[in-house]
């Protein structure tokens, strides 16, 4: 018999691991990934593969050569960041831009803060917003869905979001008739018009992923549900007040809203810890998104809203404590 081990309790573990959680998120992204392949073909494959490979490479290289620490790529967090970054890019984006995005996401968004667990902002969004500001033309021309063989040569078109912006700018509600129906937007079956980024096309595929993560208890419902409800209510009120604002279902299923609500805002590291804090965070993101979309310069507000609220996360954590045992008023 070897030496006995002594340690403090507990002596058993749930068997959960960081890798396992990241893997579950990646699995949850699979339906959306498949759908983007169906919609954009080669372009989607190139963008996703480049993004994942570049993120993993940069994380490995930085831990290995700069931090001289044990590489942490096995925890799959870099792969997940890469996949999410890819989902936030148009399918005709040149490879070199994607690589720059990955470098910013991993290098600046994550590793400068000390790696997984220490970053303040969602790395994939840091990468995306960097690209959006640096390469506004490439980042805001989206190819039309259905060109399976095309990559950078794909024909581009107007996305639902740009249609909505145009309607508001012109004060003309009839422009909105160019939008696909709510059901088409939910399923991602656009017959015409640019579709947007890779992962934004099918809300349904993203919702399937959400269900998977809830089932696996990877995330809780608080953030996605609070975002979606806030957007629905706020956009609904605007729509009722003035029909130049699109109907709330179309708002929900357009652009990166579902992707952001389900996958980006729920990033463990940059979201609040207590459920109360998560609700506040979600409501604020929903509100900011609608404000930026309808009254701001950019057609899409999800990324900015999430990044803004990421900055507030430490503050929310400080003030929103979970309800302590015994605080409940006796019934």
């Amino acid at each position: 018999m070897g030496k006995l081990t002594i340690s403090l309790s507990p002596h058993v573990h749930s068997g959960d691991s960081v890798q396992n959680n990241m893997l579950n998120v990646i699995i949850a992204l699979v339906p959306a990934a498949l759908f983007s392949l169906y919609a954009f073909g080669v372009g989607a494959a190139v963008v996703m593969l480049t993004s994942v490979a570049a993120c993993v490479f940069f994380e490995w290289a930085i831990t290995r050569f700069i931090l001289k620490a044990e590489p942490t790529v096995c925890d799959l967090s870099a792969a997940l960041t890469g996949l999410l970054l890819g989902f936030n890019l148009p399918s005709n984006l040149p490879i070199w831009i994607i690589i720059i995005g990955a470098l910013v996401a991993i290098g600046i968004g994550k590793m400068t803060f000390g790696g997984l667990g220490c970053n303040i902002f969602n790395p994939a969004l840091v990468g995306r917003v960097f690209l959006l500001i640096s390469f506004p033309v490439q980042m805001t021309t989206w190819p039309e869905a259905g060109q399976l063989g095309a990559y950078t040569d794909a024909t581009t078109g107007a996305t639902p979001l740009s249609v909505m912006t145009t309607a508001i700018k012109n004060g003309d509600a009839s422009v909105l008739s160019q939008l696909p129906s709510s059901m088409d937007m939910l399923l991602g079956t656009y017959s015409q018009g640019g579709a947007g980024c890779l992962g934004e096309i099918s809300a349904l595929a993203l919702l399937i992923g959400f269900a998977w993560m809830l089932l696996k208890k990877t995330i809780t419902w608080h953030i996605p549900v609070s975002i979606i409800c806030t957007v629905f209510v706020f956009a609904g009120l605007l729509h009722v007040a003035n029909p130049v604002y699109a109907n709330p279902f179309q708002v929900l299923f357009s652009g990166g809203l579902m992707l952001g609500a389900i996958f980006m805002a729920t990033d463990y590291v940059s979201s609040p810890m207590s459920s109360k804090g998560q609700l506040i965070y979600g409501v604020a993101i929903g509100f900011l998104t609608v404000v930026i979309r309808n009254f701001g310069a950019y057609p899409e507000g999800m990324s900015f809203a999430i990044l803004i609220m990421n900055a507030f996360t430490p503050l929310i954590n400080n003030y929103c404590k979970p309800k302590r045992f015994g605080e409940v008023v006796k019934k």
Partner: protein, 447 residues
């Protein structure tokens, strides 16, 4: 199905010995009795080397009000008063008794006849508490708090009900489960006696739904006691925590320390204690034996034993087929809150509910990585605390912050560490922080 309202986890149950009847363990050759087997002041030895003792003879008297006497579980000669490594891993004073024969004190009623409370109208609450005190009874769930102290509510507090903890939420352990199946009548009389002692007429027995046979049997037997209600509870750890159990059964939450269960009118006792109360009051039998689950996946025959105190754990492990060669850890108690033992010669004490053997692989903790702030510990914490934060401030020795974040409310259940995907030693650090902060608070209060 009722359960507590905040947090909780569901570890693999692994109740390997659930269908093993209780076996009477053989007498040890030498029985060892550590003097500090309970919370509070250690007992004071009242025997000397060479003294002859019988089964049930007092060998150490209570060292204060919050303390309990210790009674010999064997007959024989006091060999020496020395030290022994107990479950804490430290060497503590202990009495060694060489076993000779098995002669019991005459006052102990060894018959199997069931004596009901109605048969003994002479029993006043004071007499019951006195008898419990004189039997050296402590909570049998593992915390080992002297029973008579809990049965004497502090001035101003009034007990409204007795809650019996029969949830046995620790994985692996089956001692309470077997006790209910085999001694249901005696347990119920014990509950009745505890209710009489604290002068209440409502008693609940909380049992988790993973023991359907026990729920069924106890419900049947409890028909004869209209004041005792069997409450089936959803299986969830740490339901056996005193505060969680009260919340689960009567929907009241005990406020943060210094409030105690009696503040919300509840007196909580373990089902093993109820049985010991029956034996102490009705049979004049002091606490010198208990049911111990000896279990583990690698063990040949996981079993439940009725073992005399002072029996070395190695003897019970031997009776289960011996210590497997790949043993990496031996735990006194359950896997969530038990203590890893330095060696297997540690004697069975009043609080030894189980002995758990783990192999090399199970014994090792996972590799620690950095906190990913997934908040799983926050959702798992049954006290509504933020374990990740408490562990960090404790490791950084920021005691003011730790106190402000209610570290003293921690019940050390281990749910946070159990659930942490990064395998962080959360509870290790929180324990140290809690101890230090409690020390600071005590120092401040005495000033």
């Amino acid at each position: 199905m009722k359960t507590f309202r905040i947090g909780g986890v569901h570890p693999e149950e692994n109740k390997l010995s659930a269908d093993q009847p209780i076996k009477v363990a053989a007498l040890p050759e030498v029985a060892v009795f550590p003097l500090g087997q309970h919370i509070g002041a250690p007992a004071k030895a009242v025997v000397a080397k060479g003294d002859k003792v019988k089964v049930g003879t007092m060998i150490a008297e209570a060292g204060g009000f919050v303390s309990a006497g210790i009674y010999s579980s064997v007959s024989g000669t006091v060999q020496k008063i020395d030290t022994v490594i107990d479950a804490s891993g430290y060497r503590k004073p202990a009495i060694y008794i060489k076993v000779e024969g098995d002669e019991w004190e005459e006052t102990i009623d060894r018959s199997e006849d069931l004596v009901k409370a109605a048969d003994r109208p002479d029993l006043t609450p004071e007499l019951i508490v006195e008898k419990i005190k004189n039997a050296g009874l402590v909570g049998m769930g593992g915390a080992c708090f002297p029973v008579h102290v809990k049965l004497c509510p502090p001035p101003g507090a009034k007990a409204e009900c007795v809650i019996i903890n029969a949830v046995e939420c620790e994985p692996y352990l089956t001692a309470d489960h077997r006790l209910m199946l085999e001694k249901a009548d005696q347990v119920l009389v014990g509950v009745d006696l505890i209710m009489k002692a604290v002068k209440v007429n409502k008693g609940y027995i909380g049992i988790e739904e993973n023991k359907p046979d026990a729920i069924k049997l106890m419900t049947e037997k409890a028909q004869a006691y209209p004041n005792i209600e069997i409450v089936p509870l959803k299986t969830k750890y740490p339901q056996g925590g005193e505060k969680q159990l009260i919340d689960a059964v009567i929907r009241r939450q005990v406020p943060a320390p210094p409030a105690i269960p009696i503040s919300v009118g509840a007196v909580v006792q373990n089902v093993g204690t109820a049985y010991a109360v029956y034996e102490a009051v009705m049979k004049n039998k002091p606490l010198f034996e208990r049911i111990v689950t000896v279990t583990g996946k690698s063990l040949a025959q996981p079993s439940n034993f009725l073992a005399r105190m002072g029996t070395p754990m190695s003897q019970l492990i031997e009776a289960c087929g011996g210590l497997p060669s790949d043993t990496g850890k031996v735990i006194g108690g359950g896997p969530m809150m038990g203590k890893a033992l330095m060696n297997i010669e540690v004697p069975i004490c009043k609080g030894s509910s189980g002995v758990l053997i783990m192999n090399d692989k199970e014994a090792k903790r996972g590799k620690v990585s950095s906190c990913i702030r997934c908040a799983k510990c926050v959702s798992a914490c049954p006290m509504g605390l933020e374990p990740f934060l408490l562990a960090t401030v404790s490791a950084k020795a920021n005691w003011e912050k730790a106190e402000a974040e209610d570290i003293t409310s921690c019940i050390e259940c281990g749910s946070c560490q159990f659930t942490c995907p990064s395998h962080r030693p959360l509870l290790d650090n929180i324990r140290i922080g809690k101890q230090t902060v409690m020390g600071i608070i005590r120092a401040r209060n005495t000033k």
